[in-house]
């Protein structure tokens, strides 16, 4: 693949005084990443805007049949540009590109088209990708940056995981959320000092974080365990999934949302899998193997930290997920979330999160295959699975989505009661 320079480059000069406007996806993770970027001298503004106006802006600028994540992220950025808050000649935008075979790699081009429609095409758009699709002289993913970003992502995974497993049981409402906030602040301070990145430090902070959550006073409460999988943006973004985590929490659920690190390993591993399936250059293989091993270290540390506290459920390692997936789908199925999504459903069910919400943007192509397409087979193998696929798009209404989730929860509640009865009689 040729390395291309984008239409408007983000230059070294710009780095000095341009504000980089960033759409939001996973609130905890992105907050941390933002802080990493700031410690590298970038001025980053992470958007926290919500509301119907975002959707309307998106509808105006993006083909209405484009996936919801594109529509929302572009809508969020256009909304920011129109807010009057920024000097339009001193801003840049940012978009991720995975380089996969689904539409997501095209979001950045849709964003440029949107800018052009508005005569704002002088604004540079930075692509964040690991495939070398586009490069900018003023924005480089250097090795130190990459290492820190990965650490930040894993911190995000850990905080999200522990918060979700503590919040439903906390004695003092709001304590887990407060703990997340204080950790984000603390980590940010450490990042600024160039600390908390090394493997050794990461390991010790992981431990400290896990310990701090284990010390939140809790009581036993009867909850339903619900897992959330799906297209990556809709899965994490409260803007896209109508605040799904919060809704489930209010319905008396404990939620498990698989982390981002698994997805990162998946993307690197795909390169290796391609070579295994179709043949290819072993040199490329070496680099990917190194990267994969590096990513996996973070994962291992996270799992170990969580496992020290038996009250928490640790996620399964990537290798196990891949084994699970192979029981129902080929490891060559790699576009979008690919087989990983199917594997996450199975892993959740295995680790007692039998109730799963599978989120996807309406008409998401990979999800026809790995989400809805695989539910039947997953149920066959794991009969206790209770999965509900939910579509998200600008016109899907919250009431319909919540209604369907409530149905899933009603079935879950009944199963639980039956299981308890059986236990008592046995």
């Amino acid at each position: 693949m040729a390395n291309k320079t984008p239409q408007v480059e983000f230059t070294k000069e710009m780095k000095k005084d341009y504000t980089i406007i960033t759409p939001n996806m996973a609130p905890i993770h992105f907050e941390l990443i933002k802080n990493v970027l700031q410690s590298f001298g970038y001025h980053v503004d992470l958007l926290h805007t919500t509301g119907r106006e975002i959707v309307d802006e998106g509808l105006k600028y993006v083909h209405n049949d484009t996936c919801y994540p594109a529509l929302l992220s572009i809508g969020q950025m256009m909304h920011a540009l129109h807010s009057g808050k920024y000097d339009l000649h001193k801003v840049a935008l940012v978009m991720t590109q995975t380089g996969g075979g689904c539409r997501a790699s095209n979001y950045i081009h849709l964003l440029r088209k949107a800018l052009k429609k508005d005569g704002l095409d002088f604004i540079p758009v930075i692509s964040i990708n690991l495939s070398g699709l586009e490069k900018n002289s003023g924005f480089k993913i250097t090795l130190p940056l990459l290492r820190r970003a990965l650490a930040a992502l894993t911190y995000g995974d850990l905080l999200m995981l522990l918060k979700n497993q503590t919040k439903p049981y906390e004695l003092h409402s709001g304590e887990s959320d407060q703990l997340v906030r204080s950790w984000v602040e603390k980590l940010t301070m450490l990042f600024e000092k160039g600390r908390a990145f090394s493997q050794r430090e990461v390991r010790s902070y992981f431990d400290e974080i896990a310990r701090s959550f284990s010390q939140v006073p809790t009581e036993h409460r009867d909850t339903l365990k619900v897992g959330v999988v799906g297209e990556i943006y809709v899965k994490y973004s409260p803007l896209a999934n109508n605040d799904l985590e919060q809704f489930l929490f209010e319905q008396g659920c404990e939620v498990m949302v698989p982390g981002i690190m698994g997805f990162m390993i998946f993307k690197v591993d795909n390169r290796l899998e391609d070579i295994a399936l179709y043949g290819g250059n072993p040199a490329k293989k070496q680099l990917c193997t190194v990267l994969k091993a590096y990513f996996t270290k973070f994962e291992t540390d996270l799992i170990e930290a969580v496992k020290k506290y038996p009250q928490f459920t640790a996620p399964a390692p990537y290798t196990h997920l891949k084994e699970l997936a192979k029981r129902v789908i080929g490891p060559g199925c790699k576009m979008g979330e690919g087989w990983l999504l199917t594997a996450e459903m199975m892993e959740l069910i295995e680790s007692s999160y039998e109730n799963v919400v599978c989120t996807q943007p309406f008409g998401c192509l990979p999800n026809h295959i790995v989400g809805k397409g695989m539910i039947r087979k997953v149920r066959e193998l794991l009969p206790n699975a209770n999965i509900v696929p939910i579509d998200y798009d600008p016109s899907a209404t919250r009431v319909n989505q919540e209604n369907r989730i409530k149905l899933m929860l009603a079935v879950a509640g009944e199963k639980k009661r039956e299981a308890q009865k059986n236990q008592e009689s046995a």
Partner: protein, 973 residues
């Protein structure tokens, strides 16, 4: 005592049980969104009838009840779950429950692994759908059920969503199909939708229970389910109340004092939490100014005939109305009618003409023309002189009101048409894609559901203070948006205004897809019946930011334009139109036959008029028509099909391999055929797709929003399984062959991995060798070794050298096949140049070759007198060039190349039409890019969205307008 309250999307149900578990009260009522009032009064009634009733365990259920329950802190139980509780209690033997409601369709599988399925964001196949269809037929839903009993045949009607079905039905009506046959077809469509959308691979068998309004009230619908599922279902007593009954016995029910609850509910009111937009009119004065302004755009409608009594007649047989006018030499209207079309437009036009002749006995009609959906049938029934495509008719009329008109938008019963005008010619046409049509009739149906006439309903919104923001999506999905608004307590006034605003936003942002509504044009003419509603017009003006012209005859513009058009072209003295004496003997008979001209077996509707004149509809080609198409057709789609047919099914010593003829195999068949036959296998492919094949596979489709070409694969696999092959071969392919036109050479996710879905959902496949391994044809050097590994799992003993040889033959054959297509393309293009023929590069994917997918659009283009070339026949003539999107799919790179080819050709006779399958997410990106490549060189972009729909009427308009805009061969149709 126990009380269950079921607040559905359209109705309210309540049951009361005494302490012995006896049902002592039940009530059922439409709530017309006045949920709180009706619920309170229903409970009051219950108390009045049971004087001892003061306290009871209460629980609410139903899709519209959640908000009420939450806010009043009354226990709520999800309605499917409530149904299940009730079925367990009263019909314990049930295996499967099918429940259809106002907007919901549900299936519960009770025996075995318990599962519950609800319809997704699509409202097709529900009570609302049946209501909508009945409205279209101008009968009540009950009547629909009754007349369905007398049907003789059923037609295939798209059931995926109401809008598609509507266009199918409208076409059938216009073609003269019998109402009872249509009614039966509608019920069949509901069943198919339920099976396809909800069963998703799980068989419905055993003891089936039918619940909910439609299944309770329409025994014929139950029969349709029985017939198609091959079961004898049961509709139990109180089948309407099961949700309420389940709620009453829900474990979550809590005891309340009824007096208090009723008090609480009756004081429950809106808290205005919904998103709202600005009011349409601030006050009466603003409205008055608006009315006065629009009264200026007048044309006389009661003019006299001028000396000589010369008149011109125009008829617009639209989807839901028939409009007809007669004008005099001054182009003033002397007589006009605007009639609701409840099915057959023919008698309406006959009566119009009779009344015209009666009023003006001495009239001398010089010329006449028809337009609209019913253009052809009216033209042949009454021997009109001309037919004109609707877009041209409307343009002709609009010029009369604003000669400088640069933009016309027409929102009719179920179409949105708009077009830009540049230098006095139509420059760009936007017709609604199948998914967002039905705007006018949607308003109408919605008004009806709430108990209003459309105009009355629309007026309600004029002074609404906080119109509901319902967004700008396909109108079918608005049902649930309205439901949400109701839940949030929006008043009828605000919902009405919101719907008017939505119709407008839909047109602007969904159909025309404007970025800046303010830049549409300076001289905008609006027309069509929907704009007769002041609320809609006002919403439009607010959205575009300036005033528009609404001709006083806004609803008659098509007919008026047709009359003007006939006047413009009248180089004769007397019209051939049926005279008064002809009308006296006018007769119209309809019969149906199945055409046996080709494998399509089209269901033809034959209309016979007085004197033996015939009009045939329902045909996909010219074969059954008396007239032979004049020119030899040059159709590369046909040629490609012939090429594929030349690979004859065969047997071989190593066994027989079946290949499904769908998706990418439309292109790779020559490769795999050669590969396997040279290894000594016999190879055969599944039969051509048709509806029957589709229906046979539809019960295993897990995602109802995937594209039609993918859905068809299920039928192809079923067909292959019947042949009991030794193996079925259909590989997964992330990557396609690299044609060096883009940055990568992926397949789209659906093409790449659909075999995985087939394996996971077609249970019968587990008894056959299904080879769906991941294969990389893009690496010819690695391919033999990898393929050797794959095949040896299934057929041990094939050597690597054998595979190497077979692979090299296969690659050779594949490239030879592609070269044949490209050579033929060049030959045709050269011929076109020589003979001065228009050319359409009909661009899609290899599988758009399938007539079941393209619905014969290739032939339709040939009938318009143009040559059809496929995108892959020209894409090789270009080098890779920069695009504004990431160019990473092989098939899609060809689209960009084909667009570039057209743009660079500089030849106005060569144009591009893009076929897009509904649900194709990738084409949301390619469509925009192809458009921008063409428009850079001022070329017209035409996109045709296709799905299961079999109605070609809208496509025909599209194509004829294109040819008219290009000034090419427009009269050929």
């Amino acid at each position: 005592m126990r009380i269950g309250l079921d607040v559905g999307s359209t109705t309210l149900k309540c049951v009361v049980y005494d302490n012995d578990g006896q049902l002592v009260f039940h009530a059922y009522e439409r709530h017309y969104s006045q949920i709180a009032e009706k619920a309170a009064s229903m409970l009051q009634n219950a108390c009045a009838q049971r004087p001892g009733l003061h306290r009871a365990a209460l629980c609410i259920s139903g899709s519209a009840g959640m908000g009420l329950a939450e806010d009043l802190e009354i226990p709520f139980v999800q309605e499917v779950y409530a149904t299940r509780t009730a079925v367990k209690r009263w019909v314990p033997s049930a295996d499967v429950v099918i429940e259809l409601g106002g907007e919901d369709a549900k299936i519960l599988f009770l025996s075995g692994a318990m599962e519950v399925r609800m319809n997704g964001s699509c409202a097709g196949g529900t009570g609302a759908f049946i209501d909508q269809m009945a409205t279209l037929l101008n009968i009540t839903p009950d009547e629909l059920g009754r007349i369905a009993e007398e049907s003789e045949r059923t037609y295939s009607i798209a059931s995926r969503c109401g809008v598609f079905a509507k266009s199918d039905i409208q076409a059938l009506l216009n073609q003269g199909a019998q109402k009872n046959d249509i009614a039966a077809s509608i019920l069949t469509a509901v069943v198919n939708q339920t099976v396809a959308g909800l069963a998703q691979g799980r068989e419905i068998s055993g003891s089936v229970v039918y619940l909910g309004g439609p299944l309770t009230f329409l025994p014929q619908l139950r029969n349709a389910f029985d017939r198609i599922l091959g079961v004898k279902g049961l509709c139990p007593e109180n089948s309407l109340y099961f949700v309420a009954m389940g709620a009453a016995f829900s474990e979550t029910a809590e005891e309340f004092s009824l007096e208090e609850v009723i008090e609480k509910i009756s004081h429950y009111s809106s808290h205005g939490r919904y998103q709202s937009s600005e009011a349409l009119f601030a006050d009466q004065d603003e409205y008055r100014e608006f009315q006065e302004r629009h009264q200026r755009d007048q044309v006389r409608t009661d003019a006299p005939l001028l000396p000589g009594n010369i008149a011109y007649v125009g008829v617009d047989a639209g989807s839901t109305t028939v409009k007809a006018v007669a004008i005099n030499e001054n182009e003033e209207i002397v007589f006009s009618e605007y009639l609701p079309n409840s099915g057959n437009p023919v008698p309406l036009v006959r009566d119009f003409l009779s009344r015209l002749y009666e009023k003006f006995p001495g009239i001398h009609i010089r010329s006449s023309a028809s337009t609209g959906y019913g253009e052809e049938i009216i033209k042949s029934a009454f021997s009109l002189d001309l037919g004109v495509v609707e877009t041209i008719a409307h343009f002709t009329a609009a010029k009369k009101f604003d000669p400088q008109v640069d933009f016309i938008i027409d929102i009719g019963g179920q179409d949105i048409k708009c077009f830009k005008v540049k230098n006095g010619a139509i420059d760009n046409i936007f017709l609604n894609e199948a998914c967002s049509s039905g705007c006018g009739s949607f308003l109408q149906t919605f008004a009806g559901a709430l108990g209003f006439e459309m105009s009355e309903f629309s007026k309600l919104g004029l002074f609404a203070e906080n119109p509901v923001d319902l967004g700008s999506r396909c109108t079918v999905f608005m049902n649930s948006a309205v439901k949400q608004a109701q839940k949030d307590g929006a008043s009828l006034e605000n919902i009405s205004a919101g719907l008017s605003i939505s119709v407008v936003k839909n047109a602007l942002y969904k159909v025309i897809r404007v970025t800046d509504a303010k830049a549409l044009g300076q001289h905008i003419v609006v027309q069509g019946g929907t704009f007769l509603n002041d609320a809609v017009l006002r919403a439009f003006e607010k959205e575009i930011g300036h005033n528009a012209t609404r001709p006083s005859i806004s609803g008659l513009m098509g007919a008026y334009g047709a009359a003007l058009y006939s006047k413009e072209r009248a180089h004769w003295e007397e019209s051939s139109i049926a005279a008064a004496r002809d009308l006296a003997f006018f007769s119209h008979q309809v019969s149906s036959v199945t055409c046996s001209g080709c494998e399509n077996h089209c269901r033809l509707t034959v209309n016979t008029f007085a004197g033996g004149k015939k009009y045939i509809a329902g045909n996909r080609c010219d074969k059954p028509l008396a007239k032979k198409s004049s020119a030899v057709s040059y159709n590369l789609y046909d040629y490609k099909k012939q090429l594929l047919d030349s690979y004859e099914n065969c047997t071989g010593k190593r066994g027989r391999i079946g290949i499904p003829m769908g998706l990418n195999l439309f292109e790779l068949y020559p490769f795999w055929y050669t590969f396997f036959t040279s290894l000594g296998f016999g190879v055969f492919h599944s039969p051509p797709s048709d509806r029957k094949l589709y229906f046979e596979g539809q019960h295993t489709i897990p995602s109802d929003t995937v594209c039609y070409p993918a859905k068809l694969m299920h039928g192809h696999i079923e067909a292959l399984l019947k042949e009991k092959p030794d193996a079925i071969f259909y590989p997964c392919m992330s990557y396609n062959l690299d044609e060096s036109l883009g940055d990568n050479h992926y397949n789209c996710p659906v093409v790449a991995y659909y075999p995985e879905v087939l394996d996971a959902n077609i249970a019968a496949l587990s008894n056959t060798k299904f080879i769906y391994s991941y294969v990389g044809l893009h690496r010819p050097k690695d391919f033999p070794k990898k393929m050797h590994g794959i095949l040896s799992e299934y057929f041990p003993g094939i050597s690597l050298p054998e595979i190497k040889k077979a692979a090299s033959l296969a690659y050779e054959e594949y490239y030879a096949h592609m070269k044949r297509i490209r050579d033929k393309g060049k030959e045709y293009l050269a011929l076109a140049k020589k003979e001065n023929l228009p050319v359409i590069i009909l661009s899609g994917r290899p599988y758009h070759l399938d007539p079941e997918i393209n619905h014969g659009i290739d032939r339709l283009i040939c009938q318009c007198g143009a040559m059809v070339i496929s995108e892959d026949a020209v894409s090789d003539q270009l080098q890779k060039f920069p695009t504004k999107v990431l160019n990473q799919w092989t098939y899609h790179a060809r689209l960009y190349a084909a667009a570039k080819y057209v743009a660079q050709s500089g030849d106005p006779r060569i144009n591009l039409v893009q076929l897009v399958s509904f649900g194709c997410g990738v084409d949301a990106i390619t469509g925009d890019e192809v458009r921008s490549i063409l428009e850079e060189k001022d070329r017209i972009y035409t996109q045709i969205k296709i799905d299961e729909i079999t109605n070609l009427g809208a496509v025909r308009i599209r194509l004829r307008s294109l040819f008219a805009a290009l000034n090419l061969g427009a009269e050929a149709v």
